[in-house]
Each structure stands twice: as C-alpha cells, then as structure tokens.
Symmetry: C2
C-alpha cells in the first residue's frame, strides 16, 4: 500500500512526539511492505511566527492532497493570555476542521493497569473501561453566528444543527457499535434545548436502522456524573460539539494520563490524527514528553487505511513497553526513559 | 426572628426529605426562639396531576410572598420518555427561576471521610476538598431564542449574556471568596464563544474591585478534567448556566453521594433552597431516602437569614450522625436508619 501523509508538527512537544510516530510508521512500512510519503506543513504558533497566520493556505493544500494528516499540537504561552486576539494558534484547529470537513472526532478511552498509581480513581473502578466517544466537530455553537453589541456589553452565540449533520455522525457511531458491545448512548440536553430535541429525534430514527444496537439517551449533566461514577456502562458515546468537548476531556481522566490517548477526526475526504494532549510547553525540547498518544494516533491512521494487523502490532508494542516499565517521565518521574527511546523501542518491537 | 417559608414538596422523595428539614427547622426555632411560618404549595408532576400545570400561579404567589422557599424535587418517570412534551415537571424549575429572578445557583461541594467507601476516588484524593460553585441560572442558552424549522430538520438555540447579568453574580462570588480562600476561578470557553469573552472581560473588571481575591480563568473542557484530577486547587468557581449545570453535577461525585449535597438559588427577592438530588422514584414512600441534602439546604436558608449559629448547629448535628453511623440505606445498605429517624436525630441534637 502507498499513502501520502501530511505531517503538521505544530508547537511545544508536537514535533518530538510526531517524530516518534513517523519512526514507528517507518518500521511498519518496512515490516509489512508499505510506502508512506510524508510532507511537512506549518501550523499553529510556529506558522504564525513564520507566515503571520496559524493555518497557511499551503498547509490546507498539502492536507487536501494527502490521504491522512498526522497532527502534533498547537498553542504557545505567548498567545494564551488574550483569547480575543485576532491571530491565535487554535484557529488552525477550526480552520482545518472546516477546510477538511472533519465532522466527527473519535476518541477511544481505555485504561491501563500500569497507570493506576497516577489515577485519582480506585483501581477496581477502572478495570474494563472501554469507551469510544463520537463528538460532532463542525457544527453547533462553535460555528454558529456570533455577535457582540457595539458598546461591548452584550454578546451572543448561536447553536445550530441540521438533520444531515446529525445523521452522518450517528451512522458512524452505530456502525462502530455493531462491532463492539452494541450500545450507543446519546448525550443531550433535550429537556432544555431545541437542538438537543432534534439530535434525539434524528438519533431515534437512525437507531431504528440498527436493530442489533441498543440506543440510550442521557442528559449531559447526568452523563458528567455517570462517566466517572459508572464508566463501564458505556460502549459508544455520541454527542454534539460543545458537550463532546467537555465530556471527552473529562473521560480522559479515567486513563490516568492525557499523554496516552489518541484521537481521529474524520470527514468525507482526508482524516486527521492527533494525540489529545496539548503542547506541554514546559517539556518542549527536552525529550521527556510521552509519545504514546501520538503513536496510538498513528495506529488509528493505519486502521483508517484498512491496515488492522499493522495497527494491532503497534498496540501490542505499546502494551509491551508498559509491561516492561519503559515509560516517560510523566508516568514514572524516578525511573524514566526518553521520548525518543520509547519511539525506538516501539519501532523495534513492531 | 419571624420568617415565612414556602414549602414545595414536589415529587418522589421530595415530600419525605422536606419533612425532615421542617422537623429540624422547628427544633432550631424552639431552641433559639424563632418563629417560622410554613405554607405548602404544589409543584412538579404532583401539580400537573392536580392542576394541569407544573407551576400553578398560586404557587408562584405563595413563593413571592415568602422570605424563602424550601424545595424538594420534581419529576416523574411517566413524563421522562418525552423531553419535547408540552407539559413537564421540570418546567416548574425554569418557571420558578424566572418568576423569582433566581439568577445565582450556589452549590457547596465538600467531602466527608465517612463516605469514602462510596466514592470512586482514592481517599487521599478527597481530603480537604472545599469548593463553592456559582452557576448563573436565568440567562444563557437556557433562556435564549429557540427555533425549529417547519419541516423539523433544523433547530437552533441562542446563548445571550449581558454585562449586568454577569456583574451581579460575579459580585456574589467575589464577596464569598473574601471570607474563604480568596480565589475565584471563572470557567469559560473564551477561545470559541463571544459570550465567554464577555464573561471574561466583565469578570476581569469586577476582579479589579476585589484586590484581595485572586481571579483565575480556565477553559471549561480543562475544568472538567481539573475538578476531578486536582479539586483542591479550587475555592470559588464561577460560570455560566450550561457549563454550571454540567460541572456542578460532575463535582458532586467528589462527595460520594448525591444525597448529601444542598444548594441555594438566590435573586433579588426571595431565595430557594433545594437538595441537588432528584426524585429517586424507586425510594419514594419507603422512608429510606437520604434527607441530609435537604437538611443542609435548610441550613443554607438559615445562613441566608443571617442565622449563622443556627446553621452551624445543624451542620454539627449532621457531622455527629455521620460519626455515629446514623446513616440512610444509600450510605450503608446493611446497617441503616430510616429517613425519619435521621430527621429526629438531627432535630434532637440541635
Ligand atoms: C482549542 C479548542 C478550541 C479545541 C476545541 O474546543 O475544539 C480543543 O479544546 C479541542 O477539543 O480540540
Ligand atoms: C432539570 C433541568 C432542566 C435542570 C437544569 O438543567 O437546570 C437541572 O439539571 C438542574 O441543574 O437544576
């Protein structure tokens, strides 16, 4: 198989962790006889510094011309203090989501027994947690009309959804559930919001087309409780953009480390793969960041290419490193390995 | 002191738990020489069954004519299945919030060492957690314009905020923080929403008037992580309606039991006090529900009346029952006391 991969390193620890994923992808290519072509492009604060914009049009073109995008992280402390500034690194995320039509963000949340010392939860609480969260990514209050009055004393944001926007991501969620524990839980606030009532109605319609999958409906405030109080009840979670932003981050705490979790954002054309962690500025350039979130994102990319065996080889390699305590400083501050060493070990094992 | 208290029992376990609070209030009245006049009014499914509406105008009148409202819970399984039905018990909540102008919902979140066996968290994680959450309650996406297209395939909800709406609740939060650990954390999504940018700007302005209080700003997705990963960092949390709905329920998991937590909703006139738990239909009428959330709500009411010593007497009584394992079935299913017994014990101790 031959594939074109756009590489968007971004800021902070982005370049370091992405470099490990490329090492691992190269090991997969060699082992299984694939050819991956990489093309780097600027994004985030790095792109602002070099071109004046967080998402240069050249970057969009490179992504559109690729089969998949491997994304690091964006953001820089020097832009953090003013969330209303005209040019900001995170604008690249919105821009990419829109330009590539990435309507579904998919986040698997699993737990590793080796990480339980890091977790605020009792060990017994975490065994067997295995959730996949589908968050709608190009609609809702993120992209609706926004206004601020001339005197600056009144502001508004509109949340809008249409049936087709809900249908396409609902189909993805129900299809995935068919190959898992056959349950989809929609999170909404249909006792308050019209958009939530639309979500519930459309998901009820779609659910009828998947009689082998159980559909459940839960208010988002209750879900914020249930995700931590009784996480094993969930299989696939489906929700709109803003609720998904909050609940998927919350659920990541179950894992014990933000550094270990991958994500995929898919649309109609190319797809984007990125760790859920941020730029972690304090660790940048020190070869101490955890590359597992990025490497697992590369594994999701291979699965997206249809390379299931290859993806599993990466997961096995990661399980092996964890079992042998080959971990980065965030997991074991006393006895740790470097970012690049983890990348080497996973590559060799593959 | 002489006060008029409207009693809105509502549905499910509402009447039982509220009855215990009244017992305790009567004990306080006797002990400290106050006079409390109670007036019952219909609300919720109970009101729908008897009058056809969840919030009869007579109920609003009784509340407006009272110094405070003691509220049980509303909701009934027979209305649960259809969140778009014309008449629903929860409408009483919105109606009361609007009619009484209850713009700030205040929820203290503390932990009890006796409850740690119920908590998904490690014991060490919970010691010393002491947070008060201020949730804006009469604005935002709850009360903005809502539309559904004629064909039912497009829906929208508008989130609107004005400077005065933010200022009045911000003042309450900063004032409370002055008597606590002197920190207010605003939760917003100011990297995405205009309304959040307005919140941040206004809170920065208000913060300048409280130089002894530290103001912090956190994105709500990160807050969903921090509240459970590092809850001790928070003192007073301030946020808008929808974020507050989600984050305050999430934070309640720290306590270990939804049955133990009170809330106050304040406005310009009368204020409303209610446990955060729901109607718990399975327990209704069995004298097994936990009345502590309601009794602590009564304590918040006394504080609101300026009766600090009396409120503290109730808290001491509750601590005493917990220390002696006088607890309801939700806390200890093997060795439990009845709802009414807990009410008696707290009253006697007071
Ligand atoms: C940076 C921010 C705008 C973004 C979002 O809210 O979508 C981030 O939190 C995420 O989840 O990717
Ligand atoms: C019942 C519901 C409409 C209500 C809300 O969202 O405000 C409830 O969740 C609450 O927090 O009081």
């Amino acid at each position: 198989m031959e594939k074109k991969i756009a590489v968007l390193n971004g800021d902070g620890i982005g370049p370091e962790v992405t470099a490990q994923s490329i090492k691992v992808l190269n090991a997969v290519a060699q082992q299984y006889g694939h050819i991956f072509h990489y093309k780097e492009a600027l994004v985030g604060a790095d792109a602002i510094d070099k071109t004046g914009t967080a998402l240069p049009s050249e970057t969009i073109d490179i992504c559109l011309d690729s089969d998949a995008v491997l994304f690091g992280a964006v953001g820089h402390p020097k832009y953090d203090s003013d969330p209303s500034a005209k040019v900001r690194p995170e604008q690249a995320l919105f821009g990419l989501r829109q330009a590539l039509g990435l309507f579904a963000n998919i986040r698997p949340v699993i737990t590793y027994s080796g990480l339980q010392h890091l977790s605020p939860f009792k060990a017994s609480h975490l065994e067997g947690v295995d959730i996949v969260i589908f968050r709608e990514l190009t609609g809702g209050i993120y992209f609706g009309e926004k206004h601020t009055s001339d005197d600056g004393n009144k502001a508004s944001d509109e949340c809008v959804y249409t049936r087709p926007e809900i249908e396409r991501i609902a189909h993805l969620a129900f299809k995935l559930a068919q190959g898992r524990k056959k349950k989809v839980t929609l999170l909404d606030k249909s006792n308050v919001l019209e958009t939530s009532r639309l979500w519930r109605k459309v998901v009820q319609d779609i659910a009828a087309q998947y009689p082998d999958v159980t559909a459940e409906y839960m208010y988002v405030d209750n879900a914020a409780v249930q995700v931590i109080l009784n996480p094993k009840q969930f299989d696939v979670i489906l929700t709109e953009n803003m609720f998904g932003d909050i609940i998927s981050d919350e659920a990541s705490v179950l894992n014990g480390s933000m550094g270990m979790l991958p994500s995929a954002s898919v649309g109609n054309g190319t797809a984007l793969f990125e760790p859920i962690h941020g730029t972690f500025p304090k660790a940048a350039g020190k070869d101490i960041a955890n590359p597992i979130g990025s490497i697992l994102s590369a594994a999701l990319m291979l699965e997206y290419f249809g390379l299931k065996e290859e993806a599993q080889a990466i997961r096995d390699a990661i399980d092996w490193t964890l079992q042998h305590n080959f971990v980065t400083k965030d997991i074991d501050p006393m006895n740790f390995y470097f970012t690049s060493t983890i990348g080497d070990l996973v590559s060799e094992y593959v």
